[in-house]
């Protein structure tokens, strides 16, 4: 058993006077896919944002490789890739420029590789078109292109199948499966019916208005 990359211990989060979850403990191991499930409003996105370090209004401990995450923040961020609801694409920039700036603070990647990554997500020929001229699905594909060059061992992906067509979804699923097989750790939320034999599940309940 390899050591967990990221652990959440006794996580509790309340928002606007409502407890979303409590005593939640999750371990993210290399080579696993964890799916966060639950109805609308159950706090899936909030949990993912907490795991990614974007939301810090929680109580409980977050450990990165067994150590407090906040003291190893930069190392954690270096090894974690987060794709959220909002794709992180500037409409005024071209896909190439977008991808270049997204990678800029993380790792040197040649333009040739980025070009290929965009081709790989089906954006061949659109590399230098302003992103605002692209469809919603194509804009998401720009963000997804990062997955083709990402070397981060931990991926946290929020609703990545949104606005992607059937072929795209199938290819994306394949990518995730391969990534897990080669040792990557992935956390996803999706309403899309996505099943893997060895998938871990974290199920968040519905409403908790009561509680002590």
């Amino acid at each position: 058993m390899s050591e967990p990359l990221l652990q959440a211990v006794n996580l509790q989060c309340e928002r606007d006077d409502r407890i979303l979850f409590r005593d939640l403990s999750v371990s993210i191991l290399p080579g696993t896919l964890t799916r966060v499930e639950g109805p609308n409003g159950s706090g899936k996105t909030t949990l993912l944002r907490i795991l990614a370090g974007l939301n810090d209004s929680y109580s409980g401990d977050m450990l990165w490789r067994g150590r407090p995450r906040h003291t190893y923040r930069e190392e954690f961020l270096r090894n974690m890739l987060y794709l959220g609801h909002r794709p992180g694409i500037k409409p005024l920039l071209t896909p190439m420029e977008n991808l270049r700036t997204l990678m800029a603070g993380r790792r040197y990647v040649t333009d040739k590789v980025l070009w290929q990554a965009l081709e790989g997500t089906g954006l061949g020929g659109f590399q230098n078109v302003p992103s605002r001229n692209l469809s919603a699905g194509q804009q998401r594909r720009v963000a997804l292109a990062r997955l083709l060059v990402a070397d981060e061992p931990l991926w946290i992906l929020d609703e990545i199948f949104t606005a992607i067509d059937i072929h795209g979804v199938a290819a994306l699923e394949r990518l995730l499966v391969e990534r897990v097989a080669s040792g990557g750790a992935i956390v996803v939320t999706t309403h899309h019916d996505f099943n893997l034999p060895s998938m871990h599940r974290v199920t968040l309940g519905g409403r908790h208005d009561h509680g002590l």
Partner: protein, 247 residues
């Protein structure tokens, strides 16, 4: 050490302490303030320059003094909020800001009214009054930001950042306003800075400052308790406490 600190941060512990402390604060504060004011109004001698209008000093100075020190206290609490995430500290900042704003307004109002018989005009762009006005703006900013963010924790932390930024700026503002004042009109004489104030004047002044401090303490406890009740509604001790009251 850490244990004590942690205990200090516990809302339940604070609630108990505050409840026992509050009557004393109120009684002692009111007694001191009233003594100071009555002494100042009735027994203190007349000022040789300003006549009887100077008697406003016995509320003007305490208000101005408190208005500034409340902001400093808020800044200390804000630092504690951001560094140690102590619940009580954020409760303090949000609970006390309106009190600080009211005190600042009182300092401004009494200063302006005092200015009328002294300078012959209601408002004068004097360095102290102007700084007070800016302090009032800072309080308004704190309150507006606190009200605009619905989530209490985020609100407390955002307000803490603002208060800290403000407190770094206060000395700069004070200094620049004083410089600006000398640039435009050399100050002739200031309201409160007397070359030598006889004991019959400064003793009641000291009493009323102390009294207002204690009353502020009482108000702060009261308002913090309210905020704690609102926030900790889910905990057992608050439920028991609410139930035990009045039935």
């Amino acid at each position: 050490m850490w244990q004590i600190f942690h205990k200090l941060g516990s809302p339940k512990w604070f609630f108990g302490i505050a409840s026992t402390l509050m009557p004393w604060l109120l009684v002692a504060g009111a007694a001191l303030l009233m003594t100071g004011i009555v002494w100042g109004l009735v027994f203190a001698p007349q000022d040789y320059l300003q006549g009887n209008s100077y008697r406003i000093i016995f509320i003007h100075v305490p208000s101005a003094f408190l208005a500034q020190s409340v902001y400093i206290m808020m800044a200390v609490a804000a630092l504690v909020t951001l560094v140690w995430r102590m619940k009580l500290a954020d409760v303090f900042v949000t609970a006390v800001a309106p009190v600080g704003a009211v005190l600042t307004f009182l300092a401004l109002f009494t200063g302006a009214v005092w200015g009328k018989p002294t300078w012959g005009t209601w408002w004068i762009w004097d360095a102290r009054l102007t700084s007070m006005l800016i302090l009032l703006f800072l309080y308004f900013g704190v309150m507006a930001l606190g009200a605009a963010i619905s989530d209490e924790k985020s609100s407390a932390r955002a307000v803490a950042v603002l208060v800290l930024v403000g407190v770094v700026n206060i000395p700069i503002i004070k200094y620049s306003v004083e410089w600006w004042n000398t640039l435009h009109q050399p100050a002739t004489f200031k309201l409160t800075e007397k070359p030598s104030m006889p004991a019959e004047m400064w003793v009641p002044l000291l009493l009323s400052v102390l009294g207002l401090y204690l009353i502020f303490g009482w108000l702060a406890c009261l308002r913090m308790q309210t905020h704690i009740l609102a926030r900790e509604g889910r905990t057992r001790w608050v439920k028991e406490l609410v139930q035990a009251r009045e039935n």
